[in-house]
Symmetry: C2
Subunit: 204 residues, 2 copies
Amino acid sequence: MTSPGTSPGAVRPGGRTAKVREAVRAATLAELADKGFDGLTVEGVALRSGVHKTTVYRRWGSVEGLAADALDLASGEPWPVPDTGDAAGDLRELARLVVTGFADPETGPVSTAFISAAVRNPPTAGALHAFFAARHEQSAVIVGRAVERGEMPAGTDAAEVIRTCVAPLYYRLFITGEPVDEAVADRAAAAALAAARAGVFTGG
Amino acid sequence: MTSPGTSPGAVRPGGRTAKVREAVRAATLAELADKGFDGLTVEGVALRSGVHKTTVYRRWGSVEGLAADALDLASGEPWPVPDTGDAAGDLRELARLVVTGFADPETGPVSTAFISAAVRNPPTAGALHAFFAARHEQSAVIVGRAVERGEMPAGTDAAEVIRTCVAPLYYRLFITGEPVDEAVADRAAAAALAAARAGVFTGG
């Protein structure tokens, strides 16, 4: 479908290369949702995307390459950073997004597959860590606005507030196997806010 | 080494059965530390423990059975629940135990192997979840003492304080791949304490 040696980005955005990349990415996510990382194969992605297997091998190399590229695309994508008018609402909304994302029958299994794969697959781990770093950075605006409004002290470390807000949800989902729901999300958000207000995340 | 059909606990504690169980458990942990869950085999455990392979198969059934039994034993074992004299010190000590445990060249790889295995192996997940439930329960005394001393409000949910204290460490270790150290532990402990003091974990 493309000339040999063509790399992603060598063709204009929206062109044939971008379309192939998007088709392969959609197929990768669908395969992950259906089969998990252990069931992800270059053949399966080729078949589902309609892109020739040799093209997928040449440009993505392996299932790790497919997973990493899907995560790279996700890192750069817009998502609804909460903007409710106050820090309490924004953090609550952020925590609830984690709960609803993992409960969603489409996105939940894909996110779970990425995290499961990352614990034993270094290239996928690298892409996943970059994804979370991007999410922490994108969420920092919540803390910036809170400081401007006087809801948190100046010098509050934004990423630490975000981590503290979502960590209890990931801890339950991936470590202790305990359930998460809106009440759990709201409590995690309230804890992060109380700690931020108390000045736990300033200085250091 | 034992009669066919002998089950763990059927022989007096400290007797031959207990010794076999302990030898097999020590071998399981050593194999996990060396090779991870993917490298754990009944043969490897039999060889390392000196217990005959057919005995290991008969009594533990599989690598999942070996991992679950090692976790069961760990759940019931004493460990140094912090008692420093105040809630701030106890929570800081608890968070630091997580950091030092994962940094330890002997215990770190074993704990990591259990958590990695649990994300895709339901029997191991069940044993791991029971292990964490036991740890939360054992740590509850920290919150009980804090409430008695007036450092936290009455009715504070002990497990929620403990989860909030350790979650940011597990989030960094297993989700975002960010480093943990004493400063990260101390901040997580301070955040849990500030939230508890603010009454985030009461009622519900």
